[in-house]
Amino acid sequence: MKIGAVTFPGTLDDSDTIRAIEAAGADAVALWHGDADLRGVDAVILPGGFSYGDYLRAGAIARFAPVMDVIIDAAHKGMPVLGICNGFQVLCEAGLLPGALLRNAGLHFVCRDQWLKVENNTTAWTTRFEKDAEIIIPVKNMDGRFTASKSTVDELEGEGRVVFRYVGTNPNGSLDDIAGISDPTGRIVGLMPHPEHAIDALTGPSDDGLGLFLSLLDSVVTA
C-alpha cells in the first residue's frame, strides 16, 4: 500500500503527512510538484502549507503544477485523494471539489484545537469513524472560510457530502460550519483541519486524526 504526499514549493506539512501515513502502516512516497509522475501510488495526499507563497490566491498556482495533471487524471479514474488545508484549497482550484476557501472571518491566522463532527463515515477517508463521532484535531489557517453558491451547498448537504463540521466555535466563519467535503464518489475529500497533527497525544491534542489514514487503508484493500 503506497500513499503519495506532494511537495510544492512552500508546502509545510509534507513531512508530517509522511509521518502520519507511516504511523497508519502504509508506505509513504514523496511526490515532487515538478514531476508528472505518481510513482505507482494507490492514493495521494496534498498536504498543508503556503504553496508558492499563496500570494495570488491560496492554491491558485499549485493547481497548474505538472504533478497536478496526473493527479487530476488519476482522481477522475477513481484514485482516492485527500486535500488538507492548502491541499483542500488546491483541490477546489483544480475543480476536483466545489466551492472556495476565503480569508478567515476574523482576518487573523487561527491555530487551535478544534472539535469536529464526522457527518459522513462512508467516504474513502472516514470509514473508521462512527457517524456523528466528535473528534478533536488542530485547525491552523489564514484562508479557511468555506464558501459556495446556495445551489452547491444544497447539493453538498442533500447528498451527504459535508464530511466534517465544526463543533462549538466556528474558527473561520465557514458557511454552515463546514470543515470538510467530498466529491460525489466519496473518494476525494478536502478538509481545513489537520489530521496529520493529531496522530499522537504527545505532539497533538489527540490521535483522532489517525482515523483518516487508517480508513484509506481499509478502502483501498477492500477495493
Partner: protein, 768 residues
C-alpha cells in the same frame, strides 16, 4: 564617475558625509589611517554600517570580559561554538548539536510593525541556517507600551500578524515567548526573536572563507534598494540632519534624506525564505559548502567582510555580478542593501556545478560573485574598477571599542527607599476575592491566547509543549525521543530596581521554566535591550546586568553561548526599563516524560508548593496593577535553591512522581493556581498556611517556587525526597476532578467559568 580607490587616492581632500552615516570624527580619521587614504564611497558605506553600534557592539564589547571570566572549563565542555559565531551551539547528546539565538528587531517594528517583526523572524532563522542547522522552532519575547494606549493598538496587532505571517509561512512552529506591557515601551516596543535549530554534531558549518580559489556564491533573493536606510545619503544631492544611525539600520531622521522614497524597513518574503531553507539543507546534505554566512544587517558588507575576516585568505568580489531588482544602484547601495532572504556560501570550484543544480531544483537564484584569494585583502570591483580594497578584519572585527562612562543614577537610592511595604493591601476575604479577579484580568497576567492562536505551534510535528506552558519543548530525535526545552524571561521592573539581582532573577525564572518541563538546563542566550549607552546611568544598568548574568550562569554551571545587544531604546531622554531578556535551553532525554502544566491528567493529585514565600512586593505585578507603583527592592534571588529545584523536578519526572508542574512568578501563587486549573480544566481545593498572611501567600513574587501536582500514591516518596534534599515542600491543596471551581479555603471560591471569563477576556477586548 565611479569613486574608485584610484580616484580616492587622487582626491584626498574631497569632503565625505561620514557624520551623516553615523561615524564620529575620530572613527573617520582611523579609517583614513587604516587605508592610508580617504575611503571610497563604497568603503565608507561598509565601515559606517559595520562600525555601527548594532554591528560592532562598540559600547558593549568591553564588558564581554565578564562572560569569559565566568565560564569554567566544565561549562565550556558542552559548547561546540560560542560567542562570536552566528549562533551558539551545544552538544545535547545522541550525536545531536543544537543551536539557538535571540536577536532584536525593535526599531523597525515600531515604524512598520508587520514587516519589522516579520523580517526579525527571517533574520534569526538565517542565523541558525548559517550554522548548518535545520531551523526547528521560533519564540518571540515582546514588550509593548500600555495595553490601553492607542498606539499599542497599532503596534501590537501588526507585530503579532508579522511574526505569524512570516513564521507560519516558513513552516516553523512558534512555541512560546512573552508579551509584556509597560508604558516605558510606548515609543519603543521590543520585538525580540529566538530561533532554535539542530544538526548532527559533525555537520556544524562555521562562517569561514577558506581555500584559495574557492568560489563565493550569493544565493536567494535579488538585491534591491530596500533597507538601505542611512547609506542613501551618499547618493543624495544634499545632506540633511545629523542624527546618527543607531540600531538595526533604522533611523527615521535619515529616511528624510533617502532618495527614491526607499522603504527603510526591509520587506520580507517568507516563501522565498522557506525555499531557501530547503535549498540550504539540501546543499548541507550534499556536503558541498565550505563556509556559509547569512545576509542580515549590513548585507553584503557584512557577509563578505566577515567571511573573509574569519578565513585564511583574502577575497575578490565582482559587484557587477550581483543580481539586482532595481536599476542604477551604486556600489555603496549594493553593499549596504538589506534585502532579505539572501545567503552567501564558499564552495570548492569542483562543487560549483553541483551547487548550482541544487539551487536550480529549488528555483533559487545563485550567482558566483567572486573567489577566495591569496593575501589578506578584501577587494571589490565595479565596472572593472576597484571600489573597495581593505583588510577585512578592520571592517568586521576590529571596529572601535568604547569604555563608556558608568554612573549609578542619582535617583536609584530614592527608588529603592520607596518600598512597596507601605501600599494598602486587601485584608478581608471579599477584598482578596476582588483583587484576584482584577489581577488575573490585568494585561500582563491575562491569557496570551489571542496572540498565540495566530501562530502555528504544530507544524513539523515535533511540538511537545508550547504556550501557555512555562517553556516550549520540541522533539529532536524521533527514535530516542531526545528533545529540548526553551524559555525566555525578564521582569524588567526587577532589573530597574536592581540590575544585578534583577538580571539574575530573569535567569532564575527562565532556568526554572525549563526545569518545570522536566528538562535539564544546559545553556543561555540573551538579548540585552537598553537605553542609550551614552547615558552613564544606562551603562551602569548594563554593566550590572552583564555581570549579574555572567556570575549567575557560573553559579548555575551553564554557559552563555551568545547574545545580542540593542541600545538606544529610548524616547527623548527617557530610556525603556532595562530589559535583558534571558533565554535558557534545556535538554530532555525522552520527551515522553515531559511534565505538563495543567492538572487533572491523573486521578487523585496532591498540590505541593516548593520553596519559601516571603513578604516580597517590590517591583511586583500587584504593586504595578493596583497602585501603579515601582519601588523598593526586588525579591531575593537564591541560585543554589533554583538549581536544587531543577534537580528535584528532573528526578521526579524521571521516576514518574510528578503529574504536572507550574512555575510561580508574575502575579504569585494565585496566578499559578488559576492557570493550572484553567489549562487542566479541573477544579482544586487549596489550603493556605494559617500562620502567614493570606495576601502575602497569594500575591508575593518570591523567587525559587514551583507548584507541583503529584499522584497521591507518589506523595510520600516525593515529599521525603524534598525533605532529604532540604527543599521546603508544603502540602497546599488537592485536585478535585468533580469540582468546577478553585476553592481557596477561608478566602473565596471561584467557579472556573468566572476565572476563565476574567483571564481570557482582556486581550480580545483590547485588540479584537
Amino acid at each position: 564617475m565611479i569613486d574608485s580607490v584610484e580616484h580616492a587616492a587622487a582626491t584626498p581632500e574631497q569632503a565625505q558625509p561620514f557624520r551623516e552615516l553615523g561615524l564620529k570624527d575620530d572613527e573617520y580619521t582611523r579609517i583614513r589611517e587604516i587605508l592610508g587614504r580617504r575611503p571610497t564611497d563604497a568603503e565608507l558605506a561598509m565601515y559606517s554600517v559595520m562600525w555601527s553600534e548594532h554591528c560592532s557592539y562598540k559600547s558593549s564589547k568591553v564588558h564581554w570580559k565578564h562572560w569569559s571570566a565566568n565560564t569554567t572549563p566544565e561549562m565550556k565542555a558542552k559548547m561546540l561554538a560560542g560567542i562570536g559565531e552566528n549562533a551558539g551551539v551545544v552538544d545535547i547528546g545522541d550525536g545531536w548539536a543544537v543551536t539557538f539565538k535571540l536577536e532584536s528587531h525593535n526599531h523597525p517594528s515600531y515604524v512598520e510593525p508587520y514587516q519589522g517583526a516579520a523580517t526579525g523572524v527571517g533574520g534569526i532563522v538565517r542565523d541558525i541556517m548559517a550554522m548548518g542547522a535545520r531551523p526547528l522552532a521560533v519564540m518571540d519575547p515582546l514588550r509593548f507600551g500600555a495595553a490601553d494606549h492607542p498606539d499599542t493598538k497599532r503596534v501590537l496587532p501588526g507585530v503579532v500578524a508579522g511574526i505569524g505571517g512570516y513564521g507560519n509561512c516558513l513552516g516553523l512552529p512558534n512555541i512560546g515567548g512573552e508579551v509584556v506591557f509597560d508604558s516605558s515601551y510606548q515609543g519603543n516596543p521590543l520585538v525580540n526573536a529566538l530561533c532554535v535549530g539542530a544538526m548532527r554534531s559533525e555537520d556544524l558549518h562555521l562562517a569561514h572563507a577558506s581555500g584559495t580559489g574557492n568560489k563565493v556564491i550569493l544565493f536567494g533573493a535579488r538585491t534591491g534598494l530596500d533597507g538601505i536606510g542611512g547609506v542613501s545619503v551618499l547618493a543624495s544631492e544634499s545632506f540633511s540632519g545629523d542624527e546618527s544611525r543607531t540600531d538595526e539600520t533604522l533611523d527615521p531622521a535619515s529616511r528624510s534624506s533617502a532618495r527614491k522614497k526607499l522603504p527603510a524597513v526591509q520587506v520580507g518574503d517568507p516563501f522565498t525564505e522557506k525555499v531557501l531553507i530547503e535549498c540550504c539543507l539540501e546543499l548541507f546534505r550534499e556536503g558541498i559548502v565550505v563556509g556559509i554566512q547569512d545576509l542580515g544587517g549590513a548585507g553584503l558588507s557584512c557577509a563578505t567582510s566577515e567571511l573573509a575576516s574569519a578565513g585564511d585568505g583574502g577575497m575578490h568580489v565582482e559587484l557587477d555580478r550581483v543580481p539586482l531588482r532595481a536599476t542604477g544602484m551604486t556600489p555603496a547601495e549594493i553593499l549596504s542593501s538589506e534585502s532579505q532572504e539572501r545567503m552567501c556560501a564558499v564552495v570548492k570550484p569542483s562543487d560549483v556545478d553541483a551547487f548550482m543544480r541544487v539551487c536550480e531544483k529549488w528555483d533559487v537564484i545563485a550567482t558566483e560573485i567572486g573567489e577566495v584569494t591569496e593575501g589578506d585583502r578584501l577587494v571589490i570591483t565595479w565596472q572593472g574598477e576597484v571600489v573597495v580594497d581593505v583588510p577585512p578584519r578592520t571592517v568586521a572585527h576590529e571596529g572601535p571599542m568604547y569604555e563608556r562612562p558608568i554612573a549609578r543614577p542619582a535617583d536609584q537610592d530614592a527608588l529603592i527607599a520607596d518600598g512597596a511595604e507601605k501600599l494598602a493591601r486587601p485584608s478581608t476575604a471579599d477584598e482578596l476575592r476582588a483583587e484576584v479577579l482584577r489581577m488575573i484580568a490585568s494585561p500582563n497576567l491575562a491569557s496570551r491566547r489571542w496572540v498565540t492562536e495566530q501562530y502555528d505551534r504544530y507544524v513539523r510535528g515535533g511540538t511537545v509543549l508550547a504556550q501557555p506552558s512555562d517553556s516550549g519543548m520540541i522533539r529532536i530525535d524521533e527514535e530516542t525521543g531526545r528533545g529540548v526545552a526553551l524559555a525566555t524571561d525578564c521582569n524588567a521592573r526587577f532589573v530597574k530596581l536592581d540590575p544585578y539581582t534583577g538580571t539574575q532573577l530573569a535567569l532564575a525564572e527562565a532556568y526554572r521554566n525549563v526545569a518545570v518541563s522536566g528538562a535539564t538546563p544546559l545553556a543561555v542566550t540573551n538579548c540585552l535591550n537598553f537605553g542609550s549607552p551614552e547615558d552613564p546611568g544606562v551603562m551602569w544598568q548594563f554593566e550590572q546586568a552583564v555581570r549579574g548574568l555572567a556570575e549567575g550562569c557560573k553559579e548555575l554551571g551553564i554557559p552563555v553561548t551568545g547574545g545580542n545587544v540593542s541600545f538606544y531604546n529610548q524616547t527623548g531622554s527617557t530610556a525603556i526599563l532595562p530589559t535583558p531578556v534571558v533565554g535558557v535551553l534545556g535538554v530532555i532525554d525522552d520527551v515522553r516524560r515531559r511534565i505538563p502544566t495543567g492538572i487533572g491528567a491523573e486521578a487523585g493529585e496532591t498540590l505541593l508548593l516548593l520553596g519559601d514565600t516571603r513578604d516580597e512586593f517590590g517591583g511586583s505585578e500587584w504593586a504595578h496593577v493596583v497602585h501603579g507603583h515601582l519601588g523598593g527592592v526586588p525579591p531575593k534571588v537564591d541560585l543554589a535553591r533554583e538549581k536544587l529545584i531543577g534537580e528535584i523536578l528532573v528526578a521526579g519526572s524521571r521516576d514518574g512522581m510528578i503529574s504536572a508542574a507550574h512555575d510561580l512568578s508574575d502575579g504569585g501563587l494565585v496566578q499559578t493556581l488559576v492557570e493550572t486549573c484553567l489549562i487542566g480544566e479541573v477544579g482544586a481545593r487549596v489550603f493556605l498556611d494559617p500562620d502567614q498572611d493570606p495576601f502575602v501567600q497569594l500575591f508575593s513574587e518570591s523567587a525559587g517556587r514551583v507548584l507541583v501536582a503529584v499522584p497521591r500514591s507518589e506523595e510520600l516518596r516525593f515529599t521525603e525526597m524534598c525533605a532529604a534534599r532540604g527543599l521546603p515542600c508544603r502540602r497546599t491543596g488537592v485536585v478535585d476532578p468533580e469540582s468546577e471551581a478553585l476553592e481557596i479555603q477561608d478566602v473565596a471560591t471561584f467557579p472556573l467559568e468566572e476565572l476563565r471569563t476574567a483571564w481570557e477576556g482582556t486581550l480580545p477586548a483590547l485588540f479584537g
